[in-house]
C-alpha cells in the first residue's frame, strides 16, 4: 500500500513538480467534465463556451479590486460576468431578433475583448499575463504554493479540489432536480421543481469551474475540457451517471496522458491535453455502438448474407427448372460464398443443395415470390418491374411477415405463375 505519504512523495518527488502539475490538471479537468456533461446533454455547449470567455473581465476586475486570479474576489467577478453574459445574450435574442448562436457570439466576444483590453491596460498593476489567459501556465502551477498541515501544496491544486468537492456536493444534493430539468425543463417547472434555479446554478458552476481552471489551462483550452469529454462520453454512455463518470475518467486520463506527451515533446501541456481529448473523440466515433466500425461491419455482414442467400436461391431455382446453376454463382464473391456454404453444410459439391440448404433457399424464394405478388397487387408495378424489388426485399422478410403476406394474398402462385413454396 502506498498510503497518503507515499502518494504525496510520488506527486512531489517525481521530477519535483510534474506530479503536482498533473494532479492539478486532473482535478481541474474532472470538474470541467462534470459541469460540461450537464451542458452537453442540455445542448448548452455554446453557452458554456461563451461563459468561459466572458468571465475574463470579471476576473480582471476582481484582481484590480485586490484579489488573486484564482481567489474568491476573482471568482465572484467571474460569476457576475457569466450571469451578465447569459442575460445579455437572452436580451439580444428576444429584443434584437438575433438567433441564439449569433447573440451568444456577439456577447462573449465583446466581453472577452473588453477583458483582454482591461488586462493589457492593467498588466503593470496586476500579477497576470495576457498570454497565460489564452493557454494557461500549467508548468508553473507548482511554484505558487500554500502550506497546509506542514505540506506545501500548489494553490491552483487546492482551488481545484475545493471547487470539485463543492461541485459534487451541490450536484449530489440536487441530482434529481438537475436530471428532471435537463431532460424536460418545462415539465419540471410545472411539477414544482426549481428548474430556473437549476439552470442558473449550472451557469454559475460553469463560471466557477472556468475560474478554477483559468490559471492552469487558460480561457481557450478550458472550452475543450468542458465540451469534449462529455461529447465523447455521450457517444458511448446510455445513462447520465454513466456519461458523467465516463467523461470524468476521460478528462483525468487525458490530463495525465496529455501532460506526459507534452513533457516528452517539450510543448504546451494544456494544448496537448486538449489535443489528446480530441483524439479520444475521434476514437469514440470509430468504436461507439453506432460508430463507423460498427456500421461498416454490419453492412459487410449484410452483404455477405445477401450473397450467400442468392447462391442458395440460384441453386434452388436450378433444381426447380432442371437447368444448370447460372454462371453468376461460379464467379467472384459468389464462389467464396459457395465454398463457405459447403463448409457449413448448406451445399454439397457441385452447387447441389443439402437438406438444410434446400430449406433455407426455399424460404428466400418464398419471400421473393410473395413480395412480387404483394407489389403487383398494392403498388401496381407492371410485371417486368417486379423482379428487381423482390431481389432486394427477399433478404428482409421474416417468417411472421411471410405468413401475413400469404394470408392476405390468398394465392399459391406469384404474378409470373411460379408456385410459392409453403412455409417450413
Amino acid at each position: 500500500m502506498m498510503g497518503i505519504d507515499g502518494a504525496v512523495a510520488f506527486l512531489t518527488g517525481w521530477g519535483g513538480m510534474h506530479g503536482w502539475a498533473m494532479a492539478t490538471a486532473a482535478v481541474v479537468s474532472a470538474a470541467a467534465a462534470v459541469v460540461g456533461s450537464l451542458l452537453v446533454v442540455r445542448r448548452m455547449s455554446l453557452i458554456g463556451d461563451a461563459i468561459s470567455h466572458a468571465v475574463l473581465p470579471g476576473i480582471v476586475v476582481g484582481v484590480l479590486l485586490g484579489g488573486r486570479p484564482g481567489g474568491p474576489l476573482a471568482t465572484a467577478g467571474a460569476v457576475v460576468a457569466a450571469l451578465v453574459t447569459v442575460w445579455l445574450a437572452e436580451l439580444l435574442r428576444s429584443k434584437g431578433r438575433l438567433s441564439e448562436d449569433a447573440a451568444a457570439g456577439v456577447v462573449f466576444t465583446t466581453l472577452f475583448a473588453a477583458g483582454v483590453a482591461l488586462l493589457s491596460a492593467a498588466a503593470s498593476r496586476v500579477d497576470a499575463d495576457p498570454g497565460c489567459v489564452l493557454y494557461g501556465m500549467l508548468e508553473l502551477v507548482p511554484f505558487d504554493v500554500v502550506e497546509l498541515a506542514g505540506v506545501e501544496i500548489p494553490r491552483a491544486f487546492l482551488t481545484g479540489v475545493v471547487v470539485l468537492v463543492s461541485l459534487l456536493v451541490a450536484l449530489w444534493s440536487t441530482w434529481r432536480w438537475q436530471v428532471a430539468t435537463a431532460f424536460d425543463t418545462d415539465a419540471a417547472a410545472v411539477v414544482g421543481i426549481p428548474a430556473r434555479a437549476m439552470t442558473v446554478g449550472l451557469l454559475c458552476a460553469t463560471a466557477v469551474v472556468t475560474v478554477a481552471s483559468f490559471e492552469a489551462v487558460g480561457a481557450v483550452i478550458v472550452v475543450a475540457m468542458l465540451v469534449v469529454p462529455a461529447a465523447t462520453a455521450e457517444l458511448l454512455a446510455t445513462t447520465l451517471v454513466g456519461l458523467m463518470l465516463m467523461a470524468t475518467g476521460l478528462a483525468v486520463t487525458a490530463a495525465g496522458g496529455g501532460y506526459l506527451v507534452a513533457w516528452q515533446l517539450e510543448t504546451n501541456a494544456a494544448g496537448m491535453i486538449a489535443a489528446v481529448l480530441g483524439v479520444g473523440y475521434g476514437v469514440a466515433i470509430l468504436v461507439s455502438r453506432e460508430g463507423i466500425l460498427a456500421r461498416v461491419s454490419s453492412m459487410l455482414r449484410l452483404r455477405w448474407r445477401v450473397v450467400c442467400e442468392d447462391v442458395l436461391a440460384a441453386a434452388w431455382r436450378a433444381e426447380e427448372t432442371g437447368q444448370a446453376v447460372p454462371g453468376t454463382s461460379r464467379r467472384g464473391v459468389a464462389l467464396v460464398a459457395a465454398w463457405w456454404l459447403e463448409r457449413r453444410g448448406r451445399l454439397l459439391p457441385g452447387l447441389v443443395l443439402s437438406p438444410q440448404g434446400r430449406l433455407e433457399a426455399e424460404m428466400v424464394v418464398r419471400s421473393h415470390r410473395l413480395w412480387e405478388t404483394w407489389l403487383g397487387r398494392h403498388v401496381g408495378l407492371p410485371l417486368d418491374h417486379l423482379h428487381p424489388p423482390a431481389e432486394w426485399i427477399e433478404h428482409y422478410l421474416g417468417a411472421e411477415m411471410r405468413q401475413r403476406l400469404e394470408q392476405e394474398m390468398a394465392t399459391l402462385a406469384d404474378p409470373h405463375g411460379s408456385a410459392i413454396p409453403p412455409e417450413r
Binding site: 449484410l302 398494392h378 403498388v379 401496381g380 408495378l381 428482409y396 422478410l397 421474416g398 411472421e400 411477415m401
Partner: protein, 256 residues
Amino acid sequence: MSAPPLLELHDVTVAYHGRPVLWHVDLAVQSPCLFGIIGPNGAGKSTLIKAALGIVPLVEGWVHFWGKPLDQVRGRVGYVPQRESVDWDFPVRAIDVVLMGTYHRLGWLRRVGRAEREFAQACLDRVGMADFATRQIGRLSGGQQQRVFLARALAQQAEIYFLDEPLAGVDAQSQQQIFRVLSELRDEGKLVLIVHHDLRTAASWFDRVALVDMRLVAAGPTADVLSRENLARTYSGHHEVLDELGRAVEAGRRTP
C-alpha cells in the same frame, strides 16, 4: 415514336437514413394539367416531389423531364417549397425574392437590369402583390408570403412547376388568387404539380391526381382516381407492411 412524357418517374424508391419511405413509384404525366399529389400525413408526398427535383437522393430508379434527366433541363422546372422551409427573418424584400427567379437566366457577372425589374414587378402584380414589392418578407401574412413565392416561380418562366402545399395555412383570398394563377399556367400549356392534403377541394381543383401512401396507390383523371376503393386503400393505414419492412431494411435485418 410519340414524344416522351413531360414527366416520368420510373421505379423511384427514396430512403431517409437507410429507411425506405417511398417505394417503387412509377408515374408518367403526358400532357399539361393541374396535377394533385394527395395522401395522408407522412405519406411521402413532399418526398416524392423532392425526389423528382433531385433534392433527396434516389435509392432506385430515375426521373426524366421531356425524356431527359433534370440536369439537362434545369431552369425549365420550377419549385415552390413549403412555407416553413424558409427563414422569413431573412433581410430581403418581396421584389428581391421574385427577382431571384430570373437569376438562372442572367448567368455569371451580369447584373439585374431594368427589364428584369419590370418583369418581376409584373409577376408580383399577377399574384395581386404589386403594392407589397418593397415590404420585408417577414412582415407579410402567410398567404402573401406564399403569393410572393408563386411570383418568384412565375419569374422563372418554367414549363413544369412543383408546389409543396401552396394552399396550407393560407387565407381564403390568397387561396383563390393562387388557384387562379395556377389555372392560368395550365391554360398556357404548363404542367403544374401540387402537393395537397385537403380531399374536399382536390376533387374540384385538379384535372389529374396521384394518391400516395408510401407507394403510388393510383394515378389518373381525378374522377377515376378518387374512388371510394382507392381512398380506402390510401387512408386505411395499409402501409403497415412497408413501415415494418422499412425498419428492417434500415437495421439490415429480417422482419419478425
